[in-house]
Symmetry: C2
Subunit: 212 residues, 2 copies
DNA sequence: TCATTACCGTACTTTATGGTATGATTTTCT
DNA sequence: AGAAAATCATACCATAAAGTACGGTAATGA
């Protein structure tokens, strides 16, 4: 066993246990950060909810800031998957875009998505890299997918799109126009699925009238 | 001088001084809240920057929460004026809408507007009325003005708008699609005026292609 | 088996902060 | 001038939260 990856051997009982404990900590911390924000989340509360002792918590994450960074790292990564939406170039563009909008609005208005968005925006002043990382991982990627699709549709003569990156930005933001903004500001709680459908269809409708 | 308004006599040296002191406190507090957020703003720092003593500060605002509420009250009120934009029904609609978008994007992307928006969103979880008050005072009013204009333009046969409230929501949100989001997330700092013009013209262009 | 490593419980330290108390000083009103 | 109100400087209080220390106990690996 000479060269068996001294730094990161994937198995071994201890490493497994350690990894799962780390996950448990991140789960508890994420819930707390998302529902209470950074300042109102206390390490004590996390340790208490975790059941273990404070020393253990600090042995995994040596400071609150580092725990926060790890939580955001994981949350934004999974957020990217949450809002990743498939676009089928074989469908007629009206259909593909409408179905994209429905799924996108639904996911972006979910309570977890709203909470994460709030947290990121609220803390992006004090932790500037938080906003940038989130931007690259979520909105930028979604828009890239949409822009590629739109460029393809334009090439196939299905849409009159010249600047596909701009059009993608416009479409995805049209999906945030109504309920998402109200949800962010706490004006509404969690929108019904019929309201979501209507919202998405409005966004797609405007976009298709302009570029169809 | 029998009935000279016992509760709120506008002048009198003491009242004037008191009012101006209150303004000074709100100015200092607003700067701090906007640039550091609620939690990271300390009453000590405000008192120190103010120059006076702590007792005086507390004699004006008996708690940090009440000071915060007063700051937000004033800030959202002035924000409403900041983004209030005139729409001239005598102009051709392309011109009116394009000029609205330019001014709107410019104001909404100003550093103060971004900071306020961030603060409101970040704290709307712990102080739910903050988000609601802001919503009513800023986005809702702007949209109402726009919706009224669009309804008039539709009546005059200038635009093909059926749901003016929805169309207003879409237009104002199109103005936030690009730089505003990036500014909120700290991806860019403060956009140039040429970028603002381009952004606004894109929003107006899409809208007019769909409804023109 | 036995050394090692991780974990537990709990008490502790340190620092920061919202808020209070007080006695002296200045400003305002009559 | 002189009473009343406001302000100042400063010391103080209570609490809360991040982070540390430590002795004992359970799990892990050879």
């Amino acid at each position: 066993m000479i060269g068996s990856a001294a730094t990161s051997p994937p198995s071994g009982r201890r490493e497994l246990r350690r990894a799962s404990r780390r996950e448990a900590i991140l789960n508890v911390a994420q819930r707390s950060f998302l529902e209470r924000g950074y300042a109102a989340t206390t390490m004590n509360a996390i340790a208490a909810e975790l059941g273990g002792s404070k020393g253990t918590l600090w042995s995994y994450f040596p400071s609150k800031e580092q725990l926060f960074a790890a939580v955001l790292d994981r949350a934004t990564a999974s957020f990217r998957e949450l809002v990743a939406v498939t676009l089928n170039p074989a469908d007629p563009p009206e259909r593909a875009i409408r179905s994209f909008c429905r799924r996108f609005v639904e996911r972006i208005c979910s309570p977890e998505a709203i909470a994460l968005y709030r947290l990121v925006i609220g803390e992006s002043q004090r932790f500037p890299e938080v906003g940038r990382i989130f931007y690259e991982r979520a909105p930028a990627i979604t828009r890239k997918i949409m822009a590629d699709y739109l460029a393809g549709a334009a090439e196939r003569g299905q849409l009159m799109v010249t600047n596909s990156a701009l059009a993608a930005e416009q479409l995805t933001h049209l999906c945030l126009a109504g309920m998402h903004q109200r949800a962010m500001l706490g004006v509404i709680d969690s929108p019904s699925s019929t309201a979501i459908r209507a919202e998405a269809d409005n966004a797609a409708g405007l976009f298709l009238r302009a570029y169809g």
